[in-house]
């Protein structure tokens, strides 16, 4: 091997070695890199009950209720398989609305999740309002399709709007 080829091998080895090491490290820390748990994971007991966690899901249609005279809101988070009722006191972000993905940080208190912070998750779709309106029947149909295989009792009616 010429010196140049040796250096070429060294460079490839550095990149490959660091790549493999990083892959193993990320695999080991996989759980810690999850930013939030789904309602299904919460019900399955995968989320720690004692400390603060984040739960992410969609705000169920028709579940948002504001308490008159206070900043308190309650809503139901769903992943179309399981649901978690959430209560929160504070200002909600712009993108918060029913049917929208949100992430709530807080603790389980019995069956209810008491959130200290609610963040809205934006999806990857960008479109003008006219296009969104024309897509609406299709999107509701798609939501019903994903909700269909879940257990009947826990499934919300996504097409109810």
């Amino acid at each position: 091997m010429t010196p140049r080829q040796k250096r070429m091998v060294t460079v490839v080895a550095i990149v490959a070695g660091v790549g493999i090491a990083t892959a193993f490290a990320l695999k080991a820390f996989n759980q810690n890199l999850l930013y939030y748990y789904s309602p299904t994971q919460v019900h399955a007991g995968e989320a720690p009950a004692s400390r603060a966690i984040r739960v992410g899901g969609l705000v169920e249609n028709g579940s948002l209720k504001r308490q008159p005279g206070s900043m308190e809101v309650t809503f139901i988070l769903t992943d179309y398989r399981q649901t978690v009722p959430v209560s929160y006191t504070g200002v909600l972000p712009d993108l918060f609305r029913e049917g929208q993905g949100v992430i709530a940080r807080g603790k389980m208190d019995g069956n209810r999740f008491v959130a200290e912070e609610v963040l809205a998750k934006h999806d990857e779709n960008y479109m003008p309002p006219e296009v969104a309106d024309s897509l609406k029947p299709h999107m509701d149909a798609a939501n019903s399709a994903t909700g269909a295989p879940a257990t009947a009792a826990a499934t919300p009616a996504p097409g109810s709007t």
């Binding site: 140049r4 250096r7 070429m8 060294t10 460079v11 550095i14 990149v15 660091v18 790549g19 990083t22 990320l26 996989n30 890199l33 999850l34 930013y35 939030y36 789904s38 992410g56 200002v91 909600l92 972000p93 712009d94 993108l95 918060f96 929208q100 992430i103 912070e117 609610v118 963040l119 809205a120 998750k121 934006h122 999806d123 990857e124 779709n125 960008y126 479109m127 003008p128 309002p129 006219e130 296009v131 969104a132 309106d133």
Partner: protein, 243 residues
């Protein structure tokens, strides 16, 4: 295999001349495209169905984020070429990329934060996408700091090149973080093997802006690399003859 053409291209006087010729083309084309995309994105493109006019920060955020990764890959490839073929010009090119890439990374983080406050409800979260992009900024800054800490340019070149190569692993992690882990940041809208999830009327100005940013990068690297060549070759005969 003969590498003569490669070494000829890498000769400083040759490169200095070529860069001087192409830089203005990059510069003016980039200015034209960025102005066109700014008008198209801010005025002509329709508002988003959920975010309203707030989505328009995308036209700075997405191209900056794309360029922050693109600049890093260019820097790492240049550093690798410099290590293998012992070409000083390649190391100089890698050094020229770093501050530009760092600026793009900062711009992506800042615009994302400004958008995140009203839309998400927070300036910052430690999810996989945001954290890996922040790591990219530190890699650029570390690369620049490492270079600056050596007096001997050759040692600076080699040490910093190794850092650049090690850090390149972070680029695919940034890109795929939104698919591998549940993050607050949304998954890709454009770079996926499917129809883009962004309306064509909004996508066209985005592509024009990305092209403008690429050309700006070409302009900025050419200019910085010329400066870098002058600094390194300040005692060379070809420069004295030219002056």
């Amino acid at each position: 295999m003969s590498w003569t053409w490669f070494h000829k291209l890498a000769s400083p006087p040759h490169a200095y001349r070529i860069l001087g010729t192409i830089a203005p083309w990059f510069g003016w084309a980039s200015l034209a495209l960025i102005l066109l995309a700014t008008w198209w994105g801010l005025v002509k493109a329709p508002a988003d169905y959920q975010q309203g006019d707030g989505f328009r920060i995308l036209y700075v955020h997405a191209p900056s984020a794309w360029m922050s990764m693109f600049a890093y890959v260019v820097m790492a490839v240049a550093a690798g070429v410099g290590l293998v073929w012992r070409i000083k010009l390649a190391h100089a090119a890698a050094a020229a990329c770093a501050p530009i890439g760092a600026s793009f990374t900062f711009l992506a983080l800042a615009t994302g934060s400004i958008w995140g406050k009203p839309m998400w409800g927070t300036w910052w979260v430690w999810d996989a996408r945001l954290t890996s992009e922040l790591l990219l900024l530190f890699l650029y800054l570390g690369y620049m700091a490492l270079r600056a800490s050596f007096d001997d340019p050759q040692r600076a070149d080699r040490a910093s090149a190794v850092l650049a190569l090690v850090g390149v692993i972070n680029v695919p992690i940034i890109h795929y973080s939104v698919n591998w882990w549940s993050t607050l940041h949304q998954p890709a809208s454009v770079t996926k093997f499917d129809k883009p999830s962004i309306d064509l009327a909004m996508l066209i100005p985005l592509f024009i802006m990305i092209a403008g940013f690429q050309l700006y990068f070409g302009w900025a690297v050419s200019r910085r690399l010329r400066g870098e060549i002058l600094r390194r070759e300040r005692n060379a005969n070809w420069l004295k003859e030219a002056a």
